[in-house]
C-alpha cells in the first residue's frame, strides 16, 4: 500500500512565489544602499510596517519601546527627513553596503510570502567602519504581477539590539 502524503511540503527556494519575495527584498536592499528613499517607501503596502525592535523576542511592538516602529505616516515623514536636507545626520550619512542572504521561506501562499533572512551591513563614515548584523523577516503581499508585490512587514532584529549601537543617518 502506498502512503498518502497529507502534509504540505516545506516551501522551496525555487518556488516562483518565493523567488518574487527574494527579488523584492534585494530590490529594497539596493534602494536603501543607494538612499533612494522615495522609491523604497513605494515598496511598502499602505498598511505595512517597518520595525527595528530592541527586545529580541517581542512581537508586541505596540507595547514595547522600539528603535523604529513605522506605519505609513511615520515612514512618509522619515522619507521627508532623510531627503529634505535639514537633518544633519542624513545629509552627512555613512555610505553603506549590505548583503541579505540565508533566505528561508517560512510561509508561502498565492497571496503572501514570509521569508526569514540574515543581513550584514557595513557603514563607513570618516575613517570608521561600523558593522550592523541581524535577522530580517519579510512579509510580502503578492500582487497580480511581480511589479505589484508589496512589503507588509519588515522586522530587523539586530544581534546587538539590546546594546548601544551608533546613532544612524541611514536605514537598515
Amino acid at each position: 500500500m502506498t502512503e498518502t502524503l497529507t502534509h504540505t511540503a516545506a516551501p522551496s527556494l525555487t518556488d516562483p512565489r518565493v523567488l518574487r519575495g527574494i527579488e523584492l527584498a534585494w530590490r529594497e536592499a539596493d534602494l536603501l544602499d543607494r538612499k533612494e528613499y522615495e522609491a523604497w517607501n513605494a515598496l511598502y503596502a499602505e498598511d505595512g510596517h517597518y520595525v527595528i525592535p530592541i527586545d529580541p523576542d517581542t512581537t508586541d511592538f505596540d507595547n514595547t519601546l522600539n528603535m523604529v516602529y513605522d506605519d505609513a505616516r511615520m515612514r512618509g515623514m522619515r522619507v521627508t527627513r532623510m531627503t529634505e536636507g535639514y537633518a544633519i545626520a542624513a545629509v552627512d550619512s555613512a555610505t553603506t553596503a549590505r548583503t541579505v542572504s540565508r533566505f528561508l521561506p517560512v510561509e508561502v501562499s498565492d497571496a503572501e510570502v514570509v521569508l526569514r533572512a540574515s543581513q550584514v551591513l557595513v557603514a563607513y563614515k570618516r575613517g570608521r567602519h561600523d558593522l550592523w548584523a541581524g535577522d530580517v523577516e519579510y512579509r510580502i503581499r503578492l500582487g497580480a504581477t511581480a511589479a505589484e508585490d508589496l512589503i507588509v512587514r519588515k522586522v530587523v532584529r539586530l544581534v546587538d539590539s539590546e546594546a548601544a549601537v551608533p546613532a544612524a543617518g541611514f536605514l537598515l
Binding site: 527586545d55 507595547n63 519601546l65 516602529y69 515623514m77 521627508t80 537633518a87 545626520a89 546613532a167
Partner: protein, 432 residues
C-alpha cells in the same frame, strides 16, 4: 588669577586652570590623561545615577550598570532595600552578572561558584575545606557602594565621606518632585531604554541637555515632522519666560516650556493637542473622568524642562538621559522612556502613545538623536584643531540675574547651565 590659555601653555596647565568663567579649553575633550583623572576625581567621588526604583520592582530584581567605568549590580533584597554592588567576585575577580535586568535569588560566580546574596554577602564556597583557617566569609562580601534615593531616582557613590544625597541635590529636589508629576496622578515607571554611542567626550553631551540654543537648528528636521501645536510648544527661542536656573553643585534646570514646569498648575485654558484625540477617546472608553484625562494628556510631552544633574543624568522633559563615559572620545548614552504606572485600561493607551512620541525623537534612528550625535561627533573632531582656542560657554553671561529664589538665571538659550556644570568640574578637578 585667570591664566591666559595659549598654544605654548595649553598642555602644561593643570586641569582646573582649563575652566574659566566663560570658556573652557578644547583639551578637556581630547586629553586622555584628563579623562583618567575625571574617572577618579569626579566619577568615584560624587553621586552617580544608577537606576529608577521602578526598574527594581520586586525583592530579587536587579539591574547591571556602571558607576564611571566600574561595573555594578543594583539589586533589591528580600526586605526591599536597594544595594549597589561592584560586579566582581571576591575570589578571582570574574564578573558575576552579565544580564542587564532580571530577577534572582542571589549572584553566583560562573568561575568557581562562589555565591552571594542580594545584599552582597558571601553565602557559599564549594569545597570549603581548602579555606579552613584561611578566610573569614564575613570579610568577603561584594564591595558595596553607598546607595541613596530621592523621588524614585537611585544614586550610588564609591565615596564614603561625601555629603548625603539630599544635600547634594539641594534645590534640585523641588524640580524632581515637579518632574514626577508627569505620571498624571500615577507613579512613574520605566517603559524601555534606547542605547547609542557617539564618538565624542562625555562633557559634550553634558552640555547638550542645557543647550536650548541648538534646538531649532539641529532639530529642524524633527520640528518639520511634528504637528504645528508641538512645534509651537517648542518655539522658546524668543520667549522671555523660558529661562535656565543654576541650582548649585553643577545642577541646572532649563525651562523650555515654562507653562508646563508645574503640571498641577493647570488653569484649564490650555487646549489639549489634536494629535491626542484618539488617546482621549480611548481614555473616555475606559471611564476616566474629564479632569483625569486632562491631567495625563497635558503630561504627554512630559514636563516643560530639562533638569540636568551633574555628572551623569538629565531628567529631560519626558525621559531620562544617562551618560556613560567609555574613553576620552567615546560615550554611551541611554534614553530611558517613562510613563505612568497604573491600571492597564488607563495607562495602556497612555504609554503606547508615550512610546511612539519617544521613538519619534529618541534613539539611534529617532528624528532627533542622530542629529544631536552628528553635532557632538563634529565637536570632538573640530576640537582637535587650534588647542589654544577656547570652547565658548559665554552666551548670556551679561544678562544673568538672580531669580527670586536666589538662583543665577538667564534665558533658556543661554549657557548658564554649562557654566554651572563646569564650575563644579573645576572644583572637583582642582589639585587643592
Amino acid at each position: 588669577m585667570t591664566i591666559e590659555i595659549t598654544a605654548s601653555n595649553v598642555y602644561d596647565l593643570a586641569p582646573a586652570d582649563l575652566v574659566q568663567d566663560d570658556r573652557v579649553a578644547g583639551r578637556m575633550y581630547t586629553d586622555p590623561e584628563i579623562f583618567e583623572l575625571e574617572m577618579t576625581r569626579i566619577f568615584e567621588h560624587t553621586w552617580i545615577w544608577v537606576a529608577h526604583e521602578s526598574e527594581l520592582p520586586n525583592p530579587g530584581s536587579f539591574k547591571s550598570t556602571y558607576v564611571g567605568r566600574q561595573p555594578v549590580i543594583v539589586s533589591r533584597d528580600r526586605k526591599g532595600a536597594i544595594h549597589t554592588l561592584v560586579n566582581r567576585c571576591r575570589h578571582r575577580g570574574a564578573s558575576l552578572c552579565e544580564k542587564r535586568t532580571g530577577e534572582a535569588n542571589g549572584f553566583t560566580c560562573p568561575y568557581h561558584a562562589w555565591s552571594y546574596s542580594l545584599d552582597g554577602k558571601l553565602r557559599g564556597i564549594p569545597y570549603p575545606e581548602g579555606y579552613e583557617g584561611v578566610i573569614d566569609k564575613s570579610e568577603l562580601s561584594l564591595k558595596r557602594l553607598r546607595t541613596e534615593s530621592y523621588g524614585g531616582m537611585v544614586f550610588a557613590t564609591l565615596d564614603e565621606d561625601i555629603e548625603p544625597l539630599e544635600e547634594f541635590l539641594g534645590d534640585v529636589k523641588l524640580w524632581i518632585d515637579r518632574f514626577m508629576k508627569q505620571g498624571g496622578g500615577y507613579p512613574i515607571k520605566v517603559l524601555g531604554t534606547h542605547q547609542f554611542t557617539f564618538g565624542g567626550n562625555w562633557k559634550i553631551q553634558l552640555e547638550n541637555t542645557t543647550d536650548g540654543y541648538h534646538f531649532p537648528i539641529v532639530h529642524r528636521s524633527w520640528m518639520a515632522s511634528v504637528d504645528a501645536e508641538t512645534a509651537d510648544m517648542m518655539s522658546f527661542m524668543t520667549d522671555p519666560e523660558a529661562v535656565t536656573h543654576d541650582l548649585g553643585n553643577g545642577h541646572s534646570v532649563a525651562q523650555m516650556v515654562p507653562e508646563h514646569s508645574d503640571l498641577d498648575a493647570d488653569d484649564g485654558t490650555e487646549k489639549l493637542q489634536d494629535r491626542f484625540d484618539e488617546l482621549i477617546a480611548d481614555l473616555r472608553a475606559a471611564n476616566l473622568s474629564d479632569s483625569a484625562i486632562r491631567k495625563v494628556v497635558l503630561a504627554m510631552h512630559g514636563t516643560g524642562f530639562n533638569l540636568n544633574l551633574f555628572p551623569n543624568v538629565s531628567m529631560s522633559a519626558a525621559f531620562f538621559r544617562v551618560l556613560r563615559p567609555i574613553s576620552v572620545d567615546r560615550t554611551v548614552i541611554e534614553h530611558v522612556a517613562i510613563g505612568p504606572d497604573g491600571p492597564d485600561e488607563v495607562v495602556g493607551p497612555v504609554n503606547r502613545a508615550r512610546l511612539r512620541v519617544h521613538e519619534h525623537f529618541q534613539g539611534p534612528f529617532g528624528f532627533g538623536t542622530p542629529d544631536d550625535a552628528e553635532g557632538w561627533d563634529r565637536v570632538q573632531r573640530g576640537a582637535q584643531g587650534a588647542p589654544e582656542m577656547p570652547i565658548l560657554v559665554n552666551r548670556g553671561a551679561a544678562r544673568e540675574k538672580p531669580s527670586p529664589e536666589g538662583w543665577t538665571t538667564s534665558h533658556v538659550t543661554d549657557e548658564t547651565g554649562m557654566r554651572a556644570a563646569y564650575a563644579q568640574w573645576k572644583q572637583m578637578m582642582s589639585d587643592d
